[in-house]
């Protein structure tokens, strides 16, 4: 029997010790009409058959190792150093659980403490938690936290239309029972217009940089305007871009969140990822999520523990800051190993490569008849291209060239019909970019 070690003799001895005749006798509390129901599942497969079957399913997908990818929009293909998967594959890490018993969980605890420190360094903030489920849920929890910081008295949230559409949708799901109104993203409008909407009823303003269209927003002066109304400012950031651009913390952000997937986590058809979440020390008691702190043991040696748990559901129950009772620890470990492997110079270099290659791609594409680069502001690794045909048709054609094209913006922004969001990272060679340009030229003819 897979994974069950009992022999017939073991079972007999155990039943005798318990004082019942058959295992079925242990289930007599379950109502008879529901007990030993019929279950219609596929017949069991051997290990080899399972792997063959799943291998066949995996082969039905067009994977990015066999195609040239220019698709981003919230899930990114960045280089992952080989050490990352080797460390997260250590079963001392992946078969442990939440480090409730710190004396025998220092590996996980110190790794999370280092992760928190790395996220603070990257975002320019003072505290970071052990992570959320992903970037979208980190945004949603930031909105709820801002509402709680304002003692639930401010029920308006001003959301930039350039925050990732799925993050905005997730935030709306989270607040539907709380009476919070999310406004500002009904149509495309810039930060100046959003700032005019921030008033004394506003819990927070949420902006993203680089925004969903790839533009790096100038964040100067936003904090003062938002704080003048007593509201909080939430910034959604790309962690690779933070290797190159000024940290939101330096601009006075109150909460900085984002999708941590680019930090050493495979693209994995959308998950599991991690959401990073950082804030100011003065808000730490309102923050959701696990938090690791430094302390000492009985002999005075440095050690780490889960701390400030009076915020959390297992202590506070319905008065907790959130219902979250876990984090994405293994993804956070991957992020910590990734950031340590790249380090100060490596992350900057990766970010610069993205920047230069994306700008090169924009330049060559802008020269193709029928295509126009619509992005005006400085951008990072993504930019918008106006195309001579619907993006879905263009992408179908590009697939014939072995290319996975960009994100079709028409669904989220009706006025951006025939506009495509292209993503270029350090993984795309000049040769691939030139080939994309050539393919676009042929397809458009």
């Amino acid at each position: 029997m897979p994974y069950i070690p009992h022999s017939d003799a073991d079972r007999a001895a155990m039943l005798k010790a318990i004082g019942v005749e058959r295992i079925e006798d242990l289930f007599s509390d379950i109502p008879a009409k529901a007990r030993y129901a019929e279950f219609r599942l596929p017949e069991p497969l051997s290990e080899a058959e399972v792997l063959d079957y799943l291998g066949a399913l995996a082969q039905l997908n067009a994977d990015l190792n066999s195609f040239i990818c220019f698709l981003g929009a919230g899930a990114y293909r960045h280089f992952i150093p080989s050490v990352v998967d080797h460390i997260v594959s250590r079963s001392e890490f992946y078969t442990a659980y939440t480090p409730y018993q710190p004396e025998i969980s220092q590996g996980t605890l110190q790794a999370i403490f280092e992760y928190q420190s790395l996220i603070c360094a990257l975002t320019g903030m003072e505290v970071a938690n052990a992570s959320h489920y992903d970037g979208a849920t980190a945004v949603a929890e930031a909105v709820v936290m801002a509402y709680n910081v304002q003692r639930k008295k401010r029920t308006k949230v001003v959301m930039s239309p350039y925050v990732h559409p799925e993050y905005r949708a997730t935030a709306r799901t989270y607040v539907q029972g709380l009476g919070i109104q999310i406004v500002g993203d009904e149509h495309r409008q810039d930060t100046a217009a959003l700032l005019d909407m921030v008033d004394e009823e506003t819990a927070c303003l949420v902006t993203q940089t680089p925004n969903f269209l790839g533009e790096v927003e100038d964040l100067d002066g936003i904090a003062d305007r938002v704080h003048a109304k007593g509201a909080l400012w939430v910034v959604v950031a790309d962690p690779i871009a933070l290797g190159l651009f000024k940290a939101p913390g330096d601009y006075g952000a109150d909460i900085v969140v984002g999708e941590g997937q680019p930090l050493g986590n495979p693209i994995n058809f959308g998950g599991p990822y991690l959401g990073f979440f950082a804030t100011r020390e003065r808000f730490v008691h309102k923050m959701a999520g696990r938090l690791v702190g430094e302390t000492v043991d009985a002999e005075g040696k440095r050690g780490f523990v889960l701390t400030l748990s009076a915020r959390e559901q297992h202590i506070r129950r319905e008065r907790a800051t959130s219902n979250i009772c876990s984090n994405e620890a293994l993804n956070a470990l991957a992020a910590a190993v990734f950031l340590s492997a790249l380090g100060k110079c490596g992350l900057r270099r990766m970010a610069e490569l993205c920047y230069h290659k994306a700008h090169y791609a924009a330049q060559v594409i802008s020269k193709i008849r029928g295509f126009k680069v619509a992005t005006k502001k400085p951008f990072f690794k993504e930019f918008v291209v106006q195309c001579p045909m619907p993006v879905a048709d263009l992408n179908d054609a590009l697939l014939e060239y072995g290319i996975i094209g960009g994100y079709d913006l028409a669904g989220d922004y009706p006025d951006l019909d025939k506009h495509m969001l292209l993503c270029v990272t350090e993984r795309n060679s000049r040769e691939e970019i030139d080939y994309l340009a050539e393919s676009l030229r042929e397809v458009a003819q």
């Binding site: 290990e47 992946y94 799901t173 559901q313 340590s340 490596g346």
Partner: protein, 485 residues
């Protein structure tokens, strides 16, 4: 045993990653936006690897020893699952690729949904939620949406037993509901009189874990469902303890309207040191339209071309509560759970429940005459003892837990559920052998003896763990939450 922080082994100029040369002309950087400082560590690859390998040695894990952490189902995590989840056809696939290039991912999701429906008896399943608590939140939002859709706006309360996980009241509060706590009776079941007294037209529903956190199957489950339903409420099932009944009983047939599955408990995906997990939700027909999406669907081949394969796609249920995260759930976790379900089949899953319950009852019988067992009944997959040992009044559960580490065991869940003083919640799971159970029971009995004869040994434990007992109070009073130079 201590290990320096990664920042403390940093030396200027080192880097553990190699990146390609820039093969395009360099573009001008917007100087006003570029940061001056990036205070990340600088380490060599070997130093990096040694650092994390040494840290890994400071962890207790399922793969290093017995981990009877109650309510967490720390069963063995099959290596086959890890191989499957690392197939490049799964890891290197972008969630926004066109549907016809990701048919394998979508088929897997669809087939997993079908399996979870068959296991639970529910009519529909969404794989969106990323964790158990995330599934609870989804379930309560669906219950809320269901009532509002019927024009029933007067329901403001949700009933939660006093034995419930803390996530239950917290998830309820996140939906804007008032939480009403329901007492347990002397046998550890929901107190039916207290339940009846609180059931009225203001009740949106009840959250119930069955088997409950005492490890006991609520004998009145069908009556509870009737009482809640007769006042117009819906019954939420916390699937945290599904390992006890998987393959034996279907939650939908017990009267639940909605339930989350913990794929990282029942279906063997690793806990990852705290995540990632996955918490899909299953619902009855009445709630199917409210499920979070997108959900995987199958469109059969058209009848005029019988050779065609069916097509898989994604759709949003018509009255969906919305999406709970970006993309389609924790896909990598779904792959692992699906591999496990296909390997075991219906009979294998039934044996999982049977042996989980057998192991728990065996340990219960070995320990119940030494440690107080407040609810003396046949248990399901776990049971709750009290650490209040007769004749050892100065010893607390925390001391017993710390001493267990010296015997090489991870302690059980402690101080939960709240209704048992000094609780020790023990869940052995089905993957542990009789020898392991006996070794653990022997250690528990010896510790009980030590509690009476040498209590200081317990008060000062652990002795052999990487660190001695850690000072939680200091961590909370003087928070140091990041490294600073």
């Amino acid at each position: 045993m201590t290990e320096p922080l990664i920042f403390e082994i940093s030396r200027p100029g080192r880097c553990a990653a190699s990146l390609p040369e820039c093969d395009v002309p360099q573009a001008a950087l917007p100087k006003n936006l570029v940061r001056d400082e990036l205070p990340l560590p600088e380490v060599s690859e070997l130093d990096l690897v040694r650092h994390y390998v040494r840290l890994s040695h400071m962890n207790h894990a399922v793969d290093t020893g017995f981990y009877p952490l109650g309510s967490c189902t720390m069963k063995y995590n099959p290596k086959m699952n890890e191989v499957a989840a690392r197939l490049p056809g799964f890891t290197a696939v972008h969630p926004y690729q066109s549907q016809f290039t990701v048919q394998g991912c979508l088929q897997l999701m669809f087939e997993l949904q079908e399996c979870l429906k068959a296991i639970s008896g529910f009519a529909a399943v969404s794989l969106q939620p990323a964790a158990g608590a995330h599934g609870e939140f989804a379930g309560m939002l669906m219950i809320r949406a269901y009532h509002l859709d019927r024009g029933d706006t007067g329901r403001t309360k949700v009933l939660v037993p006093d034995s419930a996980h803390g996530t239950n009241p917290a998830s309820t509060a996140m939906c804007g509901y008032e939480v009403v706590e329901i007492r347990s009776d002397a046998r550890g079941n929901v107190d039916l009189d207290d339940l009846r007294a609180h059931c009225d037209e203001h009740v949106a529903g009840m959250m119930l874990t069955n088997p409950n956190t005492l490890g006991l199957f609520d004998e009145h489950i069908l009556e509870i469902a009737d009482i809640v339903h007769s006042c117009g409420g819906l019954l939420y099932g916390d699937g945290a303890n599904l390992n006890a009944i998987v393959g034996v009983a279907k939650p939908a047939e017990l009267g639940f309207d909605v339930m989350h599955f913990n794929l990282h408990k029942t279906f063997s995906t690793p806990h990852g040191g705290g995540g990632p997990g996955a918490g899909p939700v299953g619902v009855t027909d009445a709630l199917a339209d409210f499920l979070p999406g997108p959900i995987a669907g199958m469109w059969p081949a058209s009848s005029d071309s019988p050779d065609d394969e069916p097509e898989y796609g994604l759709y949003m249920p018509p009255k969906s509560i919305g999406r709970l995260k970006s993309f389609y759930g924790n896909f990598g976790v779904l792959v692992r759970a699906y591999a496990y379900i296909r390997h075991l089949g219906a009979e294998g899953l039934r044996r999982v429940a049977e042996h989980a319950v057998l192991n728990a009852n065996y340990l219960r019988v070995r320990l119940q005459d030494t440690y107080p067992l407040p609810y003396r009944r046949v248990c399901m997959h776990e049971f709750v003892l009290s650490g209040r040992l007769p004749g050892a009044e100065g010893v607390r559960t925390i001391d017993i837990a710390k001493r267990l580490m010296d015997f090489g065991f991870h302690p059980p869940t402690i101080y939960f559920p709240l209704i048992v003083p000094e609780a020790l919640m023990i869940e052995p799971t089905e993957t542990e052998s009789l020898e392991t159970l006996d070794a653990f029971a022997d250690a528990m009995l010896r510790i009980a003896e030590e509690a009476r004869t040498e209590p200081d040994t317990l008060h000062n434990a652990p002795f052999t763990a990487p660190l001695r007992r850690l000072d939680d109070v200091r961590a909370a009073r003087e928070p140091k939450l990041r490294w600073q130079p």
